[in-house]
Amino acid sequence: MIGLTHYLILAAIVFACGLLTVLTKRHAIGILMGVELMLNAANINLVAFNFYTTGEKLDGQIFALFVIVLAAAEAAVALAIFFNFYNNFGSVDVDRASELKG
């Protein structure tokens, strides 16, 4: 029987993949993809807890819905910033963003 632990472990692995993507990718949009993976892992946790521990209430699902909305908003702003960066530097390598370095 599939229980809460299965979902939690799956979410932990997906979160680790997202973190590894953020840490190893230098392409700015690749980092954004890693963030999306991490948000999805958090969402799996929220929905799984909602299903297995709260019964009739829907708090976990509502939380996950807000996370999806915020992820969409975050992606839009992040891409706008990347376009600006690309116009100024001609590259999307995040290591080039060192103008403010003292």
């Binding site: 599939i2 809460l4 632990t5 299965h6 979902y7 939690l8 472990i9 799956l10 932990a12 692995i13 997906v14 979160f15 680790a16 993949c17 590894l20 993507t21 840490l23 190893t24 990718k25 230098r26 392409h27 949009i29 690749g30 954004l32 993809m33 890693g34 999306e36 993976l37 999805n40 969402n43 799996i44 929905v47 299903f51 297995y52 521990t53 019964g55 009739e56 829907l58 699902q61 509502i62 996950a64 819905l65 999806i68 915020l70 992820a71 969409a72 908003a73 992606a75 839009a76 702003v77 891409l79 706008a80 910033i81 990347f82 376009f83 600006n84 116009n87 100024n88 999307v92 390598d93």
Partner: protein, 171 residues
């Protein structure tokens, strides 16, 4: 049946997630992300969250991912080969992620969660979600609408083409 479906969707999610990490080509990573998002949508179906699964398909797969692919295409002139991390960076990243994953899984396995028997299928799921959004969660719901408006204006302003900032400032 439920077990087979869980492992199918879990495998889909994991294949996608590992593919995003492993692929050095950014377009391939976007396609793998699509696979992972579809797997997560299937898991939502299994967890009795049909509305959320549909929202995941419409907003994530139909919206966010398309936005990301547009971003990849609009910045495609940048050379992709140079954007690899060095060997030390990669080793450090893998080490820290492995430590995090090990501690997370240890915590999950050793904790005893107060589980109840999952309730039967909620036939009025969408109605309940609508009542919750306009009842208990009215304030975050309205804040989300203000946030989306701010994001729309902010993104349009930020993405506007203009001369590089450094030269403008010196004049």
């Amino acid at each position: 049946m439920q077990i087979i479906l869980f492992y199918t969707f879990a495998a889909l999610t994991l294949i996608g997630a590992i593919g995003v990490v492993a692929s050095s080509n950014i377009v391939r990573a976007a396609v793998q992300l699509l696979v992972a998002l579809l797997g997560v949508a299937g898991l939502y179906f299994l967890l009795g969250a049909e509305f959320l699964a549909a929202a995941q398909l419409v907003i994530y797969v139909g919206g966010t991912l398309v936005l990301i692919i547009f971003g990849v295409m609009l910045t495609a002139r940048a050379s992709l080969k140079l954007l690899q991390p060095t060997r030390t960076e990669r080793a450090l990243a893998i080490l820290s992620t492995a430590i995090l994953l090990a501690s997370l899984i240890t915590a999950i396995v050793t904790t005893r969660f107060a589980q109840i028997e999952p309730v039967a299928h909620n036939a009025y799921l969408v109605r309940s979600i609508g009542q919750a959004l306009l009842g208990d969660y009215l304030l975050p719901f309205e804040l989300a609408s203000v946030l989306l408006l701010a994001v729309m204006i902010g993104a349009a302003y930020l993405a506007k083409k203009r001369a590089p900032i450094s030269r403008e400032a010196t004049r």
